[in-house]
């Protein structure tokens, strides 16, 4: 089976004159953990927003034969494109099971919505086993740990059988062990699905990325494997600040990637 790929071509997003994304192209295929990195304000989130219909963009974003741009948010989701947000956005007042059940309801008939839930969907059982939330089904989502909330979000996408998972900074705020667990989870998921991870954690990227696209000021700075991207002098310039006042300014906003890089070199 040749599963569909996500192909983004010349994506542009403007906010009243300000070009947040200025002609970005990349593709992502099942079987790889695709990373989109770049300093804060590079336009990573805006790319995802445009692909998922939250903001208007021009250019093209295709899943297989389907053009996504211009469609309504919920219709894009129904085509199999799921996403998470930078801030965990689950239904805090509902239990883990209820959260997952709402996600699973996507393909249910409206009449079945009027009935109470009996038992647990097999898709939900698989998703909680995969994400390690099997013991938390009855827990109120609001009191989960930060890492568990992110996993719940991913589980919700699995329950929906999303073909594409667009994950916006899934490991932000996680402990080292949680990051490792998340990375391994993403590798397992990516076997059958398209996984695109937005990050500015370089360590995490190095450990789990198969291919990387580096964004900078709304443009693609570099693209390739982790080794290729790391060897690219343009990337080093942006991340290590070997030149340019603009870059140092960008770094001042987000010292975190630099800190991470330094930590890694010490290891």
């Amino acid at each position: 089976m040749t599963a569909a790929s996500l192909v983004v071509t010349d994506l542009r997003v403007e906010f009243s004159g300000f070009v947040a994304v200025g002609g970005v192209s990349f593709d992502a295929h099942p079987g790889e953990v695709r990373f989109l990195i770049g300093p804060n304000g590079a336009g990573k989130t805006t790319c995802i927003d445009a692909i998922t219909g939250l903001t208007r963009g021009t250019g093209s974003a295709r899943l297989g034969e389907q053009e996504l741009l211009g469609k309504q948010v919920h219709k894009i989701v129904r085509l199999g494109v799921g996403r998470t947000f930078q801030t965990a956005s689950i239904f805090d007042e509902l239990t883990v099971l209820q959260n997952l059940d709402i996600a699973a309801g996507l393909h249910r008939s409206s009449v079945s919505l009027l009935r109470a839930r009996r038992g647990i969907d097999p898709s939900i059982e698989r998703a909680v086993d995969e994400t390690g939330l099997a013991g938390e089904l009855a827990t109120q989502a609001g009191i989960l740990s930060h890492g568990q909330k992110q996993w719940l979000e991913i589980a919700m996408l699995l329950v929906q059988d999303a073909k594409v998972l667009l994950l916006d900074e899934p490991v932000a705020g996680m402990s080292h062990d949680e990051r490792t667990a998340t990375g391994e989870l993403l590798q397992r998921i990516a076997a059958e699905r398209i996984v695109l991870v937005v990050e500015h954690d370089m360590d995490f990227m190095r450990r789990f990325a198969t291919r990387v696209t580096v964004l900078h000021q709304g443009k693609v700075l570099s693209q390739g494997t982790v080794a290729e991207v790391q060897a690219d002098p343009k990337v080093q310039e942006v991340y290590l600040g070997t030149a340019g006042a603009a870059t140092t300014a960008a770094m001042a906003v987000v010292p975190e990637p630099v800190a991470e890089t330094l930590k890694l070199t010490e290891d």
Binding site: N40, V73, A88, S89, E93, I102, L114, G142, I143
Partner: protein, 364 residues
Amino acid sequence: MTKLKPWISLSGIGVFAVLLLVIAPLVLSDHWLNNVGKYCCWAIAAVGIGFAWGRGGMLVMGQGVFFALGAYSMAMHLTLETAGDQVPGFMVLYDPLAPLPAFWEPFRSTGFTLLAIVLLPVVVAGILGYALFKRRVKGAYFAILTQALAVALATLISSTIRETGGDTGLSDFKYFFGFVLNDPANKVMVYSIAAALLIVCLLAVWQFYRSRFGELLVATRDAEERVRFLGYDPANVKLVAFVVSALMASIGGAMFVPIVGIITPAEIGAAASILMIAGVALGGRASLFGPALGAMAVGWGQSSLGSTWPDGWTYVLGLLFIVVILFLPQGLSSLPARFAALRRRPTVQPTPAIAAAQLEEVRS
């Protein structure tokens, strides 16, 4: 515990049904039974408000509109039934040769009237809700808009005295679908219908709350965007809740007419619509029984305190409202849970989840 809870609520509805349908007719005087019937009508509308506002997050400030659709449909039918072959008395008052307005004619039919009570609110709320929710009108804008509609409808009725009875309203109904309204036995019957409808509405909402739709509605209330990103159109979810609440208001209005014997614009305008909301807020908008009990309490306050001390009653209600909103935002029905929580855990613990989320926001 969570598994048991819906069944506890169900037996609660059972107890309530016995109280209203068996005990009340036995122990209450005709006068008070009629009053309780009136509270039941408000309670029916309140159950719908609790559904749309408490669970759905839509502050429906103009339920008077839908109350009016049911009430005036019923009132026109009863007026025509009383008038027989003649044109209703108030119309001839201004012009002895006045013909019956065309829109009155179909309300001679029992079937049409019953259908109108059900379908009018569904169609009106359907169109209105579709237009508003698809355009993502919400919060204060939604509240003000619905309120404005209630004002507009009340004004329209006030100004069309020849067609609708104006401020005097429609009254002096003698028959209710063939039954003589003056007969005490028939009065008990009309009361029983209203009480039974209230129970049916509670059962409907009970099923909604425990259904997947109920969970989806709460999710839409709390995180509409998130629901959208799970592939649902929140507009459709809200539309269902809004239409259901409109239907309940209309049913309440329809039963109000034979019980109270008069319907005027004052019963459906801004003040009346807000009073309906007030009862729901007092009782607890998101709970199952809160809205109905709150509405009945406000109704009772109005007929006891309100008739003996009309000026003071408004202040008492206002004060009560402020106190509840300030100290019990989930209404009086949250009191038991509050006490239970106080006993178990004397100190309130901060929620780290919120702090983490805020941190995220600062960092991004």
